[in-house]
Symmetry: C2
Subunit: 217 residues, 2 copies
């Protein structure tokens, strides 16, 4: 093992355990002391890898997006068919996050906890990633599709990212089937979303609020 | 205005503002003092409505589910067509949460912050709500559909609930169009998700991880 591999593996382990601590306690309530206790690495050992709790949160987020994006780049290399590309994107995303659900919860709940340069860099990675998806959808989109691309992109990410709230590998279908179901649900919907052939009930808007609500309208 | 209406309206206003405070600062970091400052209601005035911060969080969550569920019940009354029912469910959900995005963030991020009886009661409401969706999907499901109902249900809720991360009423399409796009995306996908007629690239699974990752497999 080279020195650099040793560094990477030790950091990867710290990031993984820290993500579990943040997912469990919440970023703001968790302390570096909690991370030290959970990892068995001393405080000074931890500060060798990052200067602050915020940098640690940044490293977790950066590492997730870098891994997902670089795996996706390898998978999409030399693939031309946009259906295939979308399937690979869905499978890559789900495969990574099913195995890293604590990270998914942290990415979702702590998106606003980063500030300044850290936040800018994570946002750039997110934009880059959704742009890959938007480009695939633009290639797939039927000329007469009524679906807004931004809605379609975030509908797909919402469908996938929500799994941290319900998917349990031990009770649910395996990740390959999950990816197949979500790809089919989405692709079919996106490719054939033609209002005209939906049953009338499905196409008509609901009547406005059916009765006054004391909640906000 | 009756006494009860006055009570309800004042409480509704407190819950709405408290949801904004929790969405902004996080439940654990926000204090009842913050809620008092934001609402302009004294601490003793607030404790007239709830005994603890946890009860306040419960009331917010309960109020959301009660409103969404009772609005849905009115909308679905005497509707038989399951396509129509699904469209109404999507529109009801999106219409409420587009107008109550702080609540959506709180429901999502603070699901684990309730304990004991509060948690049990909210979980029962959530189960009741997803059960309404499951029953509609069971009516819609083509006999040969390969899609798992639990996956379909949570794919739909994920698609809808994720909007608090990206949807901005001032820059995005109106909520009616959002509901139309999501209903179409989902309904088409769910009704016609037949693996056999998807292009081969979309149906085949991706090769396993394409290279070793220092992240968890």
């Amino acid at each position: 093992m080279t020195v650099e591999q040793g560094y990477d593996e030790k950091l990867a382990r710290i990031l993984r355990i820290a993500a579990e601590v943040f997912a469990e306690k919440g970023y703001h309530q968790a302390s570096i002391r909690d991370i030290s206790r959970a990892t068995g690495v001393s405080l000074s050992g931890l500060y060798y890898y990052f200067k602050s709790k915020e940098e640690l949160l940044f490293l977790i987020q950066e590492h997730c997006f870098q891994t997902v994006l670089s795996n996706l780049e390898v998978l999409l290399d030399e693939v031309d068919d946009p259906h295939r590309k979308l399937r690979l994107l869905v499978e890559n995303h789900l495969r990574f996050f099913v195995n890293n659900m604590a990270e998914m919860k942290v990415l979702s709940h702590e998106a606003d906890s980063l500030s300044g340069e850290y936040r800018r860099r994570v946002n750039d990675m997110k934009k880059g990633y959704s742009q890959v998806c938007v480009e695939i959808l633009d290639q797939l989109r039927p000329a007469d599709s009524p679906i807004d691309t931004r809605v379609a992109t975030f509908a797909l990410f919402g469908m996938m990212n929500w799994i941290y709230n319900w998917y349990r590998p031990e009770r649910d279908i395996p990740v390959e089937e999950l990816a197949a179901d979500m790809s089919h649900l989405f692709l079919r919907g996106f490719m054939e979303a033609d209002v005209a052939d939906l049953p009338p009930g499905a196409a008509e808007a609901a009547p406005g609020e059916s009765r006054p609500s004391i909640w906000r309208r």
